[in-house]
Symmetry: C2
C-alpha cells in the first residue's frame, strides 16, 4: 500500500496551524538593571507583541518594549494580570508576562499554574507556556555584599495576605532550629509592618543578637543601598517594599576587605586547610 499523503490544502492548513501556535512567555527580568537580564529573556520579550506586568517592572525594560502593547497594572492586581496574559496568549497574541527577579520565586508563574489548576478556562490549555528564570533579589543582594548564601539557606515571605501568620511563624521557628541562613521577602508593605519585628524576635531565640543581617534596597538600580546591621537592630521602620533581607546563620561571618564590610557563610573549608 502506498504511503497516504494529505491533500495539498490540508498540508497548508497544517503549516498555518504550526505558525500560529499560541505562546506565553513567563519571564523573570532580574533585579532591575538590564545587565542582569538573561539573553533568553531578552529574546522572549523581543518576540512578544504584548507585555503584561506591574508598571515599574515594565518601565525598567526601556527600549526592549518599544512599539509593543504594554498592559500595565498596579501591585495587588496579580490575578487580573495573569488572567489577562493567559487570555491574550489564547487569542493568538505572543505574550510575555514579566515579573522582577525570578518569576518562579514568589511571583506570577505559580499563580498561572494555580489558575490553570483551580480556575481554568478551556482555551488556556491551547497555550504553550515557556518559563524563563531570572536572578532573584536575594542573589543580587548576596553578590553585592559577599557570599551570605554560601551554605544552606531558606526563604520566607512576610506577607500574611494569603498565608496564615501561624504558618509563617512555624517556618521562622524551623529556620531557627535548623540554623538556616534566612532570606526575607516582602518584609513590609504599605498596610503591613509588624511581621518583620516579630520574625526578629523569633530568630533571636535561636541565634545571637549580633548575627549579621544584610538589608538591600533598589538592587542594581539607582539609589541602591546594601548595608549590614545586627539582628537586634532590624526594625520595620527602616524597610520598604523594595527591601530584601538576608539574616545570617550562626556560622555567618563578617570581615573587612578594602575598608568595606563583607559577609559570608562558609562551607567549612577552613577546617581542612593548613
Amino acid at each position: 500500500m502506498p504511503t497516504q499523503r494529505l491533500p495539498l490544502r490540508d498540508r497548508l492548513e497544517l503549516k498555518v496551524k504550526v505558525t500560529v501556535m499560541k505562546k506565553l512567555f513567563m519571564v523573570g527580568t532580574g533585579p532591575g538593571n538590564l545587565d542582569y537580564l538573561v539573553p533568553l529573556a531578552q529574546r522572549a520579550i523581543l518576540e512578544s507583541s504584548d507585555i503584561v506586568g506591574y508598571g515599574l517592572y515594565i518601565d525598567l525594560l526601556g527600549d526592549l518594549v518599544k512599539n509593543k502593547t504594554c498592559h500595565t497594572s498596579n501591585l495587588g492586581q496579580e490575578t487580573e494580570r495573569v488572567k489577562l496574559a493567559l487570555d491574550l496568549a489564547s487569542e493568538g497574541r505572543v505574550t510575555a508576562l514579566v515579573s522582577s527577579g525570578d518569576i518562579g520565586i514568589y511571583a506570577m508563574a505559580s499563580l498561572a499554574y494555580e489558575l490553570l489548576d483551580r480556575h481554568p478556562k478551556a482555551e488556556w490549555f491551547d497555550v504553550s507556556i515557556e518559563t524563563i528564570p531570572g536572578v532573584s533579589a536575594m542573589q543580587a543582594a548576596a553578590s553585592k555584599i559577599g557570599a551570605p548564601l554560601g551554605h544552606d539557606f531558606c526563604t520566607i515571605s512576610m506577607s500574611d495576605l494569603l498565608t496564615p501568620w501561624e504558618s509563617i511563624e512555624k517556618r521562622l521557628h524551623a529556620a531557627g532550629q535548623g540554623d538556616f541562613v534566612v532570606a526575607i521577602y516582602n518584609p513590609v508593605s504599605k498596610t503591613r509592618n509588624w511581621q518583620i519585628n516579630h520574625a526578629r524576635e523569633i530568630l533571636l531565640e535561636y541565634r545571637p543578637s549580633d548575627t549579621p543581617v544584610v538589608i538591600a534596597k533598589n538592587l542594581t538600580r539607582e539609589n541602591e543601598t546594601v548595608n549590614v546591621v545586627s539582628l537586634l537592630d532590624v526594625a520595620a521602620k527602616d524597610l520598604d517594599m523594595l527591601t530584601t533581607l538576608i539574616i545570617g546563620s550562626s556560622d555567618t561571618r563578617t570581615l573587612s576587605v578594602q575598608n568595606t564590610q563583607r559577609i559570608y557563610t562558609p562551607r567549612g573549608y577552613s577546617k581542612v586547610l593548613k
Copy 2:
C-alpha cells in the same frame, strides 16, 4: 592661593596606577547554556585575560574564552582554584573565577571570603572583587517543570565532606517541621551515596509518600531530563553529580498541561478567588 597641581610625573603615575587596578570577577555562569548567562557576566569574562574554573564549566563557555589563558582544574580542587584566582588577580592579571549556577550559592564566592578571612595573603587585599550572580540549578529546574519554588523553600546540600551529617540531618528535620519546599544540591557523588536515601526517610516522617519530587539532570544542556517522581521513589541509584532535586511541600500540587506533567507550589490565591 593658587590651586596646587601635582607635577606631571606624579600625575602620570597616578594614571598608571588607576589603569592597573587589580581585579577579580567571581562569575556565576548559570546552568550551562549561554542563553542563561547574564550580560554582566559575559562582559566580565570578555574583559578578563585569565579564566579559572572546573574544566567542564569552562568548556561550556565556548568562544567566550577563545584566546584567553584558561586555568582548568578538577572537581575537588576548589581551594587551589580560588587561591590561584586571587594570586593571578593580585599579580595584576584581570581574572574571572567561574562557577556554574550562581557562584554565591554552594560555590566559590564563599570560599574566596573564607580564605581572605582565615588564611589570607596580604597581597590579596589589593584586589577589587566583583561578584556576578547567575541562575542556579534549582531555578532552571523549576522553570522547566512549572513553579515548585513559588512559595517558601530551603536548600540543603547532601555533601558531608565539610558539614557534619548531624547538621544536615538537623536541617532536614527542620525543613520537614517547617513544611518548606526543599531543593537538594549535591545529592550524590562518586564516593558518597547514602545521604539522599536517608534524607528521603526523614522527610517521609513529615509529608506524604506521594509528595511530588522534581529530578533534573544536565539542565539547559544536551541530554537534559526533568522528571517528576514520588518522594517514596527517590533513590540514590537514579541520581548523579549533575542532578538537582526539588521536593514539594505539603501544598505542592501537580497538574497536566498539554499532556505534560507540571508541578507548582501555590501562594494561596485560590483561597480568595471566586
